[in-house]
Subunit: 407 residues, 2 copies
Amino acid sequence: MGNRQYLTRSIDMKFTFHNPTQLIFGAGTISGLGKAVAAYGNKALLVTGGGSVKRNGSFDRAVMSLKEAGVSVAECSGVEPNPRLSTVERGAEIARKEGCDVIVALGGGSTMDAAKVMAAASFYEGDLWDMFPHGQQNRRLPERALPIITVPTLAATGSEMNCGSVITKEESTLKSFVTAPCLYPKVAIVDPELTMSVPTNQTAFGVCDLITHVTESYFNGVDGTPLQDRFAEGVIMTAMEWGPKAVANGNDLEARAQVQWASVVALNGWVQVGTFGPYPVHMIEHVLSAHHDIAHGAGLSIVNPAWMRFAARTRPARFVQFAERIFGISPKHPEDPDAIAEGIDRFEEFLRSIGCPTKLYEAGIGDTLLTRYAEDTVIVAHDAEGRLPGRPAMTKEDIVEVLRSAL
Amino acid sequence: MGNRQYLTRSIDMKFTFHNPTQLIFGAGTISGLGKAVAAYGNKALLVTGGGSVKRNGSFDRAVMSLKEAGVSVAECSGVEPNPRLSTVERGAEIARKEGCDVIVALGGGSTMDAAKVMAAASFYEGDLWDMFPHGQQNRRLPERALPIITVPTLAATGSEMNCGSVITKEESTLKSFVTAPCLYPKVAIVDPELTMSVPTNQTAFGVCDLITHVTESYFNGVDGTPLQDRFAEGVIMTAMEWGPKAVANGNDLEARAQVQWASVVALNGWVQVGTFGPYPVHMIEHVLSAHHDIAHGAGLSIVNPAWMRFAARTRPARFVQFAERIFGISPKHPEDPDAIAEGIDRFEEFLRSIGCPTKLYEAGIGDTLLTRYAEDTVIVAHDAEGRLPGRPAMTKEDIVEVLRSAL
């Protein structure tokens, strides 16, 4: 498709939007989990991650609420960061054996993403990997899923209120994503108290993650979306205002709440609607974290500034707008390279100020596999010319260049 | 309740959100009406207003699309501005007699609001007016409604993607509103081409209407909603950028699209979520337009600036924020009265620049009934002390003062 599609979209606004998830937001709302779940089933598969929810009491609170509402519980624990297809298959098997009629995800993005595909697995014939785009011609999207209830314990992913899921196929080190209407959670219970015990570095990575969700559509979306631009800028500014407070003091409930609210909105579609932007920074990062098991938000923090310096050559006016509206930088002209550079520098400084890495060496990643990362990236997402979609579309050489600049 | 509730909300963010309406946006999308409706029924009540949709061809396009999809049509035309309860009853009677299983609203806010209550009437026992709050103790909200499909022909009301309806009871000159989950349209088909023939003054009133939807929650909502503030400011700035273009050239499809998109977002809940703001400017205006049959947007344009000057005394920092972020005014301190005055003056100038009235005399309204307007307003909405809810809550004397300042 190339980039030409973008240049004519501004007078051709056309899009659909439908997010049917019911959101319940606020400190203490986890106590309503049982009631919310009971509306959809009486046997829940409770999906969790590495064990923090058991240590911090969230798991017990969830189970108590479910039992009080008459919902019995089967458990699938141990969903790893960058969740694997085999874990999804394991959870789906438990759900089948135990006769679960509703899936509850209590955890971070990995847990929720895995739970979504477990929910779809109940009605999916054949290989679950066929849901995911990875170069094959015969992709089959899931059309039906068990009801999903999400209870995020991390402010980052936005998975709680959208229909997307990112899964890694371990044998091939391929990380891929699926979006399908049946994967919208029925209810998202977003309780910022559950994020109070998130460690400082994960809190910072979450802030970076949510901001990157917004910068992707902001920089890669079509022209002529002034309202979505404002919304994106609003999310970024709110995250930059409240993120450092949550990082500085994890017990600051208001900061936790504001950051988590920003993380929900950053990827529930309100910012992206009508922008049709691909996610090149995410696609590149997915390869890094598939190879190295680094935190997704940390990987984004490394890739995004480097990508921005590369992409600014193609769309300078948009990067001037970013510098001007986010940082109050006055450009000398609408494509002022100094304003662009200062805007990106200050964004990178912000990421560093909250403790995010912005160079590959900080994550222990060297230059030996740069070509491999680029190749893996375009396997998962590519246009007709084999380039990674985005503004601009990127050749493998472009991806290597961006990663090299982040060494 | 008074105002104290507001002062403690900032560290207590708690809210729910659920907007299940499917949005289909874009020029030409009306051609998909039949397919959208056929998913919900095969006999539609097509509700329309004063006849413009027949003159400009929208009606024929809608009927053709419906018929092509195998949907037969009964008609309820002639919904008036500030729609009356008797009109709702007339439409509900047609739906009943004709056995309609889906309600299609093709028109402006009045048409959509009336259609919503017609849809609920099919399942509502007793007096429809019992849905509306007007001082009575035994209010009964509707719990069920026929599927509603909205096709707005005016960018203004936001009714196409929310669950609210404003209806006037003619004998008493009382205008009241109802919101209920069953009133969410199943689908909103928002086709900006349908707004191309809207006259200049109605276009301007629509811009004022959509901005006022946002200023209500922005000025009357709880503290501690930084993201919602940014979204509200984004809608206002977008409407102020694109509204004048739509007013200047009604054939500018891009301007029509941007304004209509802003109008959808201004009242679909994305800006208001978690703000819990009452709508004092709307409540006062509803009385004016119930008494005088002036356009709702024109009434808002008169009341809002006058109300802002009154309310700024109570919440000066918020009005400084408005001046700073919307107009780039630099305040000398966080409650700078000069910045506040300049922000409101410039907002009023904007309204005048697009042709909206900002004084009562321009709408032919004098000072003889000011006390009556105030009394009618607090009949429809009042707190335990008989005051109109808002920041600040307003006594009848306050309302008279505001209206007097707009003479």
